[in-house]
């Protein structure tokens, strides 16, 4: 990465599989918005303002049910809360980045960018021109995401439902979450969350999602406490 230009291109190249994988996701999120009867410009505005696919999908399905604004914002917060962990992991890489650029880079932060940067670079010794590399990875992701959203909003309803293109969404989430499940505690959190969400799937206003997220975090923390407590009789059996 000799110049900002080559760093930008390297970032784009390394992020390309994630960008490509997000195209069906964007198409589906867009098609879901138009199928739900959300105003196309509002759906496109939401995509530009939020730039967060999973949260956009959740918000769209809640808007279609005319859910109260408070529930929509709370659900978006819960779906995006994982970004706070990404933010903590990314902070050391941007320690010397100018303040205004930190806000721009925060806005562009995605699961894919977090996974790329934290697995590729050492946070103690971030490489030269990391900012250009990051901008190359994330700004191209942004453009392709908005384009596929727009295509989905204005044309996506044409794709036959029998293609089951919406299955791409859980698949993208699957490929993002598996690297995050590193320990037995994480597995327990994931299984508890999936089970609770499945059992509560018929609740209105997608409350099953909130129930699953809370159950998962509680079980994960509980498992950690259990393993950490010395002389705890439960420890031997765990």
């Amino acid at each position: 990465m000799k110049t900002n230009r080559t760093a930008f291109i390297a970032g784009f190249r390394d992020q390309a599989p994630g960008i490509l994988g997000n195209v069906p996701f964007g198409l589906i999120a867009g098609a879901a918005a138009s199928a739900a009867g959300v105003d196309p410009w509002l759906a496109l505005g939401m995509s530009v303002i939020m730039f967060a696919g999973a949260a956009q999908l959740a918000a769209i399905s809640l808007m279609a049910q005319h859910a109260p604004a408070g529930i929509i914002v709370l659900t978006v917060l819960i779906v995006n809360l994982r970004m706070m962990m990404y933010s903590a992991a990314m902070a050391p890489y941007f320690r010397h980045t100018p303040a205004a650029r930190k806000w721009l880079f925060s806005y562009l932060l995605t699961d894919h960018a977090f996974a790329l940067i934290t697995t590729k670079f050492d946070k103690q010794r971030p490489p030269q021109r990391l900012d250009a590399y990051y901008f190359g990875a994330t700004s191209t992701m942004w453009c392709i995401w908005q384009a596929s959203m727009a295509l989905g909003i204005f044309a996506g309803a044409q794709v036959p439902a029998s293609w089951s293109l919406d299955f791409a969404i859980p698949l993208v989430f699957l490929s993002l979450v598996l690297p995050a499940i590193q320990t037995r505690n994480h597995w327990a959190a994931a299984i508890a969350a999936a089970t609770a969400a499945a059992f509560c799937a018929s609740l209105p206003l997608r409350l099953g999602l909130i129930a699953g997220a809370i159950a998962g975090v509680i079980v994960g923390m509980f498992m950690e406490r259990l393993a950490a407590a010395p002389g705890d009789p439960a420890k031997g059996r765990a």
Partner: protein
């Protein structure tokens, strides 16, 4: 006819989203963060994404009269095994979709 309520909701949702993304990046390096927050954040991604995945894989688009979607469950398991071995985002997507299409076209039910 502009949907002011909808735009207000979207702007609030956008502010919340930017807030969680920016949180630690814009915080000074020496800022004190409560331990319970850091501890619970470790499990947020591992909890939220499976909570999003589970209903979509298990129940969505299930055949008439069934409550589980067996094809989606099998295809998701195939994709999971592939993802655990390769960590490839695009490969996982391709394998999972291919498995679902094969099952739908040639599957027993």
């Amino acid at each position: 006819m502009i949907d002011w309520g909808g735009w207000f909701t979207v702007v609030c949702a956008g502010a919340v989203t930017l807030g969680v993304r920016a949180s630690f990046i814009v915080l000074p390096a020496n800022a004190k963060v409560p331990g319970w927050l850091l501890q619970s954040l470790k499990y947020v991604a591992a909890a939220v994404l499976p909570a999003l995945i589970a209903p979509d894989v298990l129940f969505r688009d299930a055949p008439p009269g069934e409550w589980l979607n067996a094809y989606r469950i099998i295809a998701a398991l195939v994709a999971t095994l592939f993802a655990l071995r390769t960590r490839s985002i695009f490969g996982t997507l391709a394998i999972g979709m291919a498995a679902l299409w094969l099952l739908k076209w040639w599957g027993p039910f």
